[in-house]
């Protein structure tokens, strides 16, 4: 019984399966349009953001960890001192997101009924910072310090063997908060996963307030008024950031191969690597002419795909589906929104091209270290 459960979890947690399930479920959990919203209500997914949903979520997470704790394989990763923050992260992020949505749904109802949000109070009705705020800060600080001291007494900071440049551990992992980036290395070369994407993440996040011109929902929890922005951000944050960290921590073993949480980390697990570049598909498999010697000619299809995706697709969208939106936000905002949005979307797209077609690179010019 338990073993079957573990086997099922092992299968489900493979990135191909878990990532797909999350991505499909996501718009129903954070519905960006009326259609999704209807299903969200009809099938009771909205119950997730009520109190029973909270207890359900907490119990599910706890159950997973408890089963994991008593499993000889999962126990090893789970009880690593440096992995404790990730357990904290999973709990705290769930609580934080649940709380925001719980508040947001209450506010959405209030706004629909013509009331002000719960946070509203009369501008003249203020409280004194001494004592009302200073005491809260003081108590928060003491409690947090107690928590930190207890944590520090109970869990010794890890120290492994002295550094040895000759002995590479397998797997070698970056610190946990960078494991999302390391996970992207499976699908993109370091110059994209390690440099371009991080830079885009930083600049893209800083640009959020300038790209999102929706004035509503400022200063109180709300969902409906800003559901599209919310949906995009939450997908990037929860799936492309936090979930990749979870994969990188718990599901990646020796040689960065996938291992289910209850699976033994076998360093000799053989995973066939038969990834093929787009240019090979075209010239060798389809046309059968062999690869042209001219590098640019060889990769021409890849360049066309790239330019089509980043350059032409936004123009087509601006003229059709996003026409009104384009007029509303103007060309500069639109350009940046597309640049960051399509870059973000390229990660799942590349993941699926890898999984479905074993596609390695869209443009492969190893001669110039230019692989996409």
């Amino acid at each position: 019984m338990l073993q079957t459960f573990k086997d099922i979890i092992d299968i489900l947690s493979a990135p191909t399966v878990s990532f797909t399930l999350l991505t499909i479920a996501f718009p129903f959990v954070f519905p960006p349009t009326d259609w999704f919203e209807k299903i969200h209500r009809k099938f009771g997914i909205c119950r997730l953001w009520t109190k029973p949903g909270f207890y359900g979520g907490m119990i599910a997470i706890t159950f997973f960890f408890v089963v994991g704790y008593f499993d000889p394989n999962f126990n090893i990763t789970l009880t690593k001192a440096d992995n404790f923050p990730i357990i904290l992260m999973i709990y705290s992020m769930f609580i934080a997101i649940w709380w925001s949505m719980y508040q947001a749904y209450q506010n959405d109802d209030r706004l629909e009924n013509g009331l002000k949000p719960m946070e509203y109070n009369d501008p003249d009705d203020k409280v004194l910072v001494w004592p009302d705020l200073v005491y809260i800060e003081f108590i928060a600080l003491i409690l947090f310090m107690v928590f930190l001291i207890v944590w520090s007494i109970l869990v010794a900071a890890p120290l492994e063997e002295p550094a040895n440049p000759a002995a590479t551990p397998n797997p070698s992992k970056a610190p946990w908060y960078f494991l999302g980036l390391q996970e992207m290395l499976v699908y993109f070369d370091p110059w994209i996963a390690g440099i371009i994407f991080p830079i885009f993440i930083i600049i893209g996040m800083m640009a959020i307030p300038y790209m999102d011109i929706n004035k509503k929902g400022d200063g109180y929890y709300s969902f409906k008024e800003r559901r599209i922005g919310m949906f995009i951000f939450m997908y990037g944050w929860v799936v492309l950031w936090l979930f990749l960290i979870v994969i990188g921590t718990f599901f990646r073993g020796p040689n960065w191969n996938f291992f289910g949480p209850f699976e033994y980390w076998d360093a000799h697990k053989v995973v066939p690597l038969n990834n093929v570049n787009l240019s090979e598909y075209i010239w060798v498999k389809m046309l059968g002419t062999g690869m042209p010697t001219n590098i640019l000619l060889r990769e021409i299809i890849g360049f066309i795909v790239l330019i089509g995706y980043m350059g032409i697709l936004p123009i087509i969208l601006a003229k059709s589906w996003l026409k009104n939106y384009f007029q509303e936000i103007g060309p500069v905002r639109y350009t940046f929104l597309m640049l960051f949005g399509l870059s973000m979307l390229s990660l799942p797209i590349k993941m699926y091209m890898r999984w479905l077609f074993n596609l390695k690179y869209i443009i492969a010019i190893p001669e110039w270290f230019f692989n996409i």
Partner: protein, 263 residues
């Protein structure tokens, strides 16, 4: 019966010359004194004297910005204590870490520092999530959101530079994995696209001994020079920038009209 005019100890203390010289408003009792307690203190007057009701609710801010700041202070203090014992050289670093846990009384400074650092990454993320969920990045707070993003990046970088210092297997390999990315930096990393374009005739300007990874590590691999560089960045370089940005961050919260709220 108690004498009505008899003053409590607290009151008498509040009227003493010493107390009044330090805390100008006396014991904060009246409304006026309470406001002055905030305005008259260089630390407390980061706050306004009066704020809207929702802004003091834990349910609104989760206290996460404040706790991030608090953790930064805890990390500074424990970090200073650790610096008493730690020497950033390949020869001593590892053994100093062992000594620190085994020889120093009440030796949980290292734990406080390490777990505090992990916790700070989490509190900063939670703070960011809260700011997003309440839509508090919207005008007029766009700029402060940007400062926040930089603060988050630097928090991660602080944690990353600190990771190397124990000089154990975990440390050098995590840093090796991390800094290997720099080698692929377009143009300025020697295995990055475009690097070969930066050449004068046959001489490559960007090679393993001159690229951005070399600058970060002070060498071609993680070694003595990297340890020193990371140590300096970790203890002085990055905290210095973080402190400046925090000052801007806090200043702007006030200037942008205090904590966000519905109109």
């Amino acid at each position: 019966m108690e004498n009505k005019n008899k003053k409590s100890f607290l009151e008498r203390m509040g009227e003493s010359q010493v107390w009044k010289s330090i805390i100008r408003s006396g014991v904060p009792r009246s409304r006026r004194q309470r406001m002055q307690a905030i305005l008259g203190s260089v630390f407390l007057h980061l706050h306004p004297a009066r704020i809207p009701k929702h802004a003091v609710k834990i349910g609104y801010t989760w206290c996460m910005g404040g706790l991030s700041f608090f953790l930064f202070i805890v990390l500074t203090i424990t970090g200073i204590l650790l610096m008493f014992y730690y020497r950033p050289t390949v020869e001593y670093a590892y053994t100093d870490i062992i000594d620190m846990t085994e020889q120093v009384p009440l030796g949980i400074m290292r734990e406080l520092h390490r777990w505090g650092a992990h916790a700070m990454v989490l509190t900063v993320w939670l703070h960011m999530l809260r700011v997003f969920m309440t839509g508090s990045y919207k005008p007029p707070r766009e700029f402060n959101w940007g400062v926040g993003v930089l603060l988050m990046t630097l928090t991660l970088f602080l944690s990353f530079t600190g990771y190397l210092l124990p000089w154990d297997q975990l440390a050098i390999w995590a840093i090796t994995v991390g800094t290997n990315m720099a080698r692929a930096h377009p143009f300025i990393g020697h295995e990055g696209p475009g690097a070969s374009l930066l050449a004068i005739g046959d001489i490559n300007l960007v090679h393993a001994g001159s690229d951005v990874r070399f600058a970060l590590l002070g060498g071609r691999f993680v070694g003595e020079a990297s340890l020193l560089r990371f140590y300096v960045l970790h203890c002085i370089g990055v905290p210095f920038i973080v402190m400046i940005l925090m000052a801007v961050h806090f200043w702007r919260i006030r200037k942008d009209g205090g904590i966000s709220g519905p109109l």
